[in-house]
Structures are given as C-alpha cells and as structure tokens.
C-alpha cells in the first residue's frame, strides 16, 4: 500500500516538475522527487543506493541547479501555455518554425512507442523479489556468501563496488573528474573579482542561518569523514561522504560569502589540485597493485600484511580517493556555476 502511495507521489512530482514554469519550484520539486526515491530505495532494502540518492539527488544536485539558476532567469521562457492546455488543444501551440503540430505529434508518438516497448518488456520479467530470478542466483550468490572471506569487507555492497567491480568505480570517479574539468574548461573566467554568491549585506541579517551553520558545519564534516571511513562496515563510502563534505563547504560559502578574493583563490587552487589528486590516488593504487605483481586493482597483492588486511586497506585507500575527488569537484562546480559579482 505504502509503495503504491510512493509511486503515486513520484508520478505527481514528475508531472508537476514538467508543467511548472518557475524553474526554482521545478528544482525543489525534483528534490522532493529524489527524497521520495530515497524512501523507495530504502523500502527495497537498497540502503546504499538510498544514501546516494539522498545526498546527491535530493541534496547537492538541488543546490547546484539553484547555483546555476542564479546565472539565468527564474522563469522558463517561450511557453505561452502550460503543458495541459497543449495536451488538450494542440492548436493553441505557439507555432514557431521549429515547433509545428506535426513535430509535436511525432514526438508524442515516439514517447508513446518507447513507453509501450518498456511495458512490453515487463511481461516476461521475473516476479518482484523472486529468489529464483536470474539476477539472484548467478553472480549475486557468490557476492553474498563469499565476499567477506574474499575481500575482508563486511558490507558486500562495498565489496562489489570497490573490489569485484572496483574498476567500474574508478570509471565513475573519472566521470566525476571529467565533469569538473569540463566546467573548468568551459565556464571558468580568468578573473574572480569577488565570489560572493549572496551579498554580504543580505546575509548579515540572517543571523539564524549563520549561527546554525557555524554549529552544524563541523558536525557535517565529521559525519562525512565517518561515512567515508565506515563505508566498509555500513552503508556509505567515498562517494556519499565526498558529496556530504562538499556540501558542508558550499553551506559555509552560502552562509558567510567569500568576500575576500584571497580565499577564493585558495579554494580554487586547492580545488584544482584535489580534483586530480583523488582520482590519481585511486588509479595509483591500481598501479601499485601492478607493481606488486598482481592484476590492476588486485589489492590482496599489496605488501600490507595478510591478504585480507591488504585488500581491506586497499579499499580504504580508494574510498579516500573517491571522497577527495567527489568533494573537490562538487566545490569546483559550485564555485564555477554560481553567480559572481562583477
């Protein structure tokens, strides 16, 4: 019952997000959407995914989109009519040369076909939670039963992400790195005069925000470190921890502003350095494994005591690497996208 309710909420949020003209509201609704997804993931016992969804989807994505909005307008342009009026009376469409009713109908047709094919695919899907489903009997069996013996990591989600499929995680960390460096390439201006996202004066009055931030930030950061370090035992890990740590710095900037150019430069230089450092640690540990005579990312071969110990330490190492890059890239993205005063 509650699952159906959640699904209904999701659909409502999705429709609301599409039909809303105010982009800020859309962003918030998308945040709500992610929050509901978090609950759904938890209901599915996928706590690690829920954790990521909460920190990334509901948390930092919302902040980053708002930061990007600060550079543009709040209202969506070029839409005279809402989505519903379009759907009901296509002749109301404002006809630009690129937006003919024909095009509109074709798009609708393509979307419907795609949806129909997706639903067609569900017919032969294994039942929900079927213990005999292929996904549950083939690879998952070994992951669940033997991962602790083989990797020394109690949380087998971490064991899969960091060890069995650790190379994919290196790839994903590289994706994050690529995102950061792409923004540096495209959006960074040479001169930062002043980086205050929200004007000093405006925020001075918000004593509540400042006080609470001052109290909260150290705890948020401590928690982030805990999430990174404890990823082997409990849900969490470098990715979520990195995002949380990045958010704490962003919170600081939003609440206090960065009035001094000097501070901006420090953050910028550090950011550039750390973007690379994190993923370099990850890739470097792989190379060390090669040098120690193993395969790439075969942590057991590292000369760090017993195989289990080496594997466990190797995984710690890469989690820290992931955490550093993720946090640094989040901060970089925020600084670059948020509006600078000129």
């Amino acid at each position: 019952m509650i699952d159906l309710m959640l699904l209904l909420f999701l659909v409502v949020c999705a429709i609301a997000a599409v039909s809303m003209k105010d982009l800020l509201s859309t962003t918030i609704i998308l945040g709500v959407y992610s929050l509901i997804m978090t609950v759904v993931w938890t209901r599915l016992n996928a706590v690690d995914v829920a954790f990521t969804e909460a920190s990334v989807g509901a948390g930092i994505t919302t902040v980053l989109i708002i930061a990007a909005l600060s550079r543009t307008k709040r209202e969506e342009e070029g839409q005279e009519y809402g989505m519903w009026s379009k759907l009901l009376n296509p002749q109301d469409l404002k006809l630009t040369d690129k937006q003919s009713p024909l095009l509109w109908l074709t798009s609708l047709f393509i979307v419907l076909i795609t949806g129909a094919v997706l639903i067609y695919g569900t017919i032969d899907m294994p039942d929900f939670g079927d213990p005999d489903a292929p996904a549950n009997i083939h690879l998952a069996k070994r992951f669940i039963e033997e991962s602790y013996e083989e990797t020394g990591v109690p949380n087998f989600v971490t064991a899969i992400l960091a060890s069995y499929r650790g190379y994919d995680t290196l790839g994903e960390t590289t994706v994050i790195f690529t995102a950061g460096i792409s923004l540096i390439l495209l959006l960074r201006r040479k001169s930062y005069i002043c980086d205050t996202t929200i004007k000093e004066k405006e925020m001075k009055e918000h004593i509540v925000i400042r006080t609470i931030s001052r109290i909260l930030i150290p705890f948020v950061q401590l928690y982030a470190l805990y999430v990174i370090a404890h990823g082997e035992l409990s849900p969490g890990g470098g990715f979520q921890g990195g995002v949380i740590f990045g958010s704490s710095i962003i919170l600081y900037v939003i609440a206090f502003g960065l009035e001094e150019g000097r501070k901006v430069r420090i953050f910028r230089e550090m950011g550039d350095l750390l973007n690379s450092t994190g993923v370099l640690i990850y890739a470097g540990i792989g190379v060390l494994c090669l040098l120690a005579g193993g395969a790439y990312l075969e942590y057991d071969k590292l000369p760090l005591g017993s195989e289990k110990m080496a594997s466990s330490l190797g995984i710690y190492g890469i989690e820290i690497g992931v955490g550093i890059t993720v946090a640094a890239v989040m901060i970089t993205i925020f600084f670059i996208t948020a509006r600078h005063e000129r």
């Binding site: 067609y120 292929p134 790839g171 690379s276």
Partner: protein
Amino acid sequence: MTLTESLPILVIIIPLISAIIIPLIGRIDKSIAFAFVISANFLSFIISISLLNTVMETGRISYWLGGWEPPWGIEYVVDYLSGFVLVIVSFIAFIISVYAKKSVEMEVEGEKILPFYSIYMLLVTGFMGMIITGDIFNLYVFIEISALAGYALIAIGKKRAALIASYNYLVLGTIGATFILLGIGYLYMATGTLNMADLRERLPMLYDSKVVLTAFAFITVGLSLKLALFPFHIWLPNVYNHAPSVVSALMAATSAKVIAYVLVRIMFSVFTMKFDLEVVPVTKILLFLSVIAIIAGSVLAIAQTNIKRMLAYSSIGQIGYIVLGIAISNQLSMTGSLIHLLNHALMKGTLFLVVGAVVYKTGMEDISSLKGMGKKMPFTMAAFTIGALSMIGVPLTVGFVSKWYLALGALKAGMWFLVFIILVSSLLNAVYFWRVIEGIYFHQKPKVRSQKSTTKDSIESLKPEIQNQDDAPVGMLIPTLILAGLCIVFGIAAFIPVSVVTPIVNMLLEV
C-alpha cells in the same frame, strides 16, 4: 604478472593517468603537458600494435581486473576485432595529438589549453575503454566518460553556435546513453550477468523472452543515436561544424568507428547471427536505414557551402556504408564494413586535418575560401585531393577497397540494387568533392577590390594573382601527409588490412 601480461590494462591506464596529471604538471610548464599528451598517445599506440600482434600469434587475450575471475569481476578482452579497432583509434589519436599543438593554440584560449588536453586524453581513454572491455556495464561507464569529454570539447568551439551544437548533442547523446543503460539493465535482469562472453552463453535460451527483445531494441536504438545513423543524424553536422578543428578531426575519424564497433560487438558477440537474422528483423531495418543514409548524406553534402559541414554530411553517408556491410552480414560485406572502419578513419582524418590547416592559415571554413589554395598550400591541398579521391572511391585508394568489398558482398547476397546505390553515391561524392578540387587548382583566389579601384587596378585584377607558397607549419603538415599517404598505401596494399580483417569476420560469423 609480467609487463606483457599487463599490457591490456596499460593501454587504458596510460592515457587515463596522463589525463589526470596534465592539469597538475601543466602548471610547471605547458610544453611538458603537450609532450605528455604525445608520448601517452604514442605509448598506447605501440601497446595496441603489440596487443594485436600477440593476438595474431596466440589468440584471444583475457585480462581479469582486480584478479577476479569473470563473470564475477570485469574482464578485458583483446581479440582480433578489438585489437584491430584499438590500433586504428590509438593511431589516429596519436597522429592528431602531434598535429594539435598550433591548431589548439589558435583556436583555444591560453589558460584553457591544459584542461583542453586533459579532456582530449579523457576522450581517448573513453574510446579505448569502450573497445577493449568485455563487460557490458563497464562499456557503459566508458561510454559516459567519452560522451562527457566529447560534449565539453565541442562546446569550446569559438562561436556561440558551438554551445548550441554541444547542447543538442548532449540531449540526444544522453537519451542514447540512457537507452543503452536501460537495455543493459534488462539484460542483467534476464540473465543475471554482465560479462559479454557469459551473456553469449546464457542468452540463446532466452531469445524469445520479451525482456531480452526489449533490451536489444533499446541498445540498438541507443547506439544508432550515438552513431548518427539516419534518421538520428541531426546532431552531427552542427557538432563537426562548430567544434575546434582538432576535435572535429578526432570525432570524425574515431567516434563513429568506436560506436560501430560496439554495435558489431553487441550484434555478433553478445547476441548471435542467428538472433539478428531469425529472431528480430534488425538486419533488414539497418539495411533500409543505411541505404537512406548513404543517399541522403551525399545529397545533403552537395548543398553545403561550409567545408566542415560538407564533410559532416559526407560522414553520415559513410556511416551508412559501415552499417550497410553489417546489415548484409555475409563474409564479403562484413570485410568491407570492417575495412571501412580503418579506411574512413584515414580519409576523414586527412580531410579534417587539411581543413584544420586551412582554418589555421586563413581563419575561414567556406568552400570558396579554398579557391586557388593549390598554389598557396600545395602539400596540404595534395593531401586533400588524395582524401577526396578516396572518398569518391577511385581505384588505388582505400575508398575503392571498401566499396569493392561492399559491392561484392551485395552481389553475393543477390541484392544487385545495392551496387547501384553504391555507384550513385560515389557519383554524388564525385560531384561535391570535384567542386572543391576544381576550386583548389583551377580557380584564382577572388581578389578583394578596394572601393577606389582605378582602371589600372581592375586590369591588374584580371591577371592571375601570383601567390606565394605559404603552406601549413611542419608540425601540422607531416601528420596530414602521413594519413594521406596511408590512404594510398592501404589502397594499393589492400591485402594488409584484409588479412587482419578476415579472421575477425570468420570469428563474428562463426564460419
């Protein structure tokens, strides 16, 4: 593990690590960063050759990442097919990185050169990773890396239109990637595995499962979007047109090849011939689309006035050729298709490098700006002519070899009308390339007349203008000439690539 055993991972890790540290060491000196890019690409090219060599001698190489036995861990697979495409892509990436220095300095702002090179290497890493992986989810991860890097490199183009081009590509590319991911998810749900070899074993008994059919549909449509197969091509002309010359060259020469390779992998290595021919009519659909792509690409190319755009439309037609061979799917046509991966990379690479050199010298991209260039830039224009003749498919050039095999394949399959299509398209190619070549050698550069022209001046302007030879700098010229030279070498000594491709075709078609 010895160094030789670690080569399959080094071929990816070297460009990856260089991408990561370029922003760091570049702070010391930019020229170190540039040297780094060249040497990383060179190393990965050498390793690719050695891998292909090993495969020829000892057969398929399987590398277990993290030491985990597949299907539990991720597997890297070098066989004839991936070895061959690895060599093509790493070679083109190396040649273009040598060429890049001056062109990038002109087209990209000074402080952006470091991130530019870093992303260039990430793009190469993404492509190489897509080729070598034997794991379908790992494939998606590298698709993401290359896609993200591609969007950024295109958007850095000088005009604002580059941003729009990149944005459109981003939206369509993301839809494509999402479709691929959905397909992968469905495959995992049906089989419980992500390893390609394991999938191949487990799928045949599930060929009538609707989950598998949906997965296949989504993956093929997603790949077609990224491949720019007609009618999914709309993003491509703007991208090639507005991206920096170096990026256009790299994307045009390698991007479609890598995706075509992935399509072949999915159709023939993950699924089987039997599935493609008997279970779903995918070859028929691809045949239909590729024929339209061949004709439409060529016709639209004729209508262009911008040279990069003309080449882009020509690429759409050439992608049609590659898919055509896959769609006919007999030995000869597949040989034609796979050879065309190499041949088109060589000729489109040549042509785009020439255009890059012209942009570097004149700052113009119109076809008319090439008029009279035969005297000014003789070597560069000679390279252009070779590339253009290859595109038309003149004998003794690589273009002829591909078309010959495709035509033979079509005949063998009893589809004689395809031979007609190939002929018509070659004629259309001749039309739009001849127009350019004619301008290069037989026209004078239109002289800009000043307003106060006296009679004497106007008489003088009627005389042929004597232009000083002013060719592209050596660093740009040599890579261009190497590619152009290879268009001839592999056109004459076609047996070299054919001897590499034949075992691939036998492997794919299980002959």
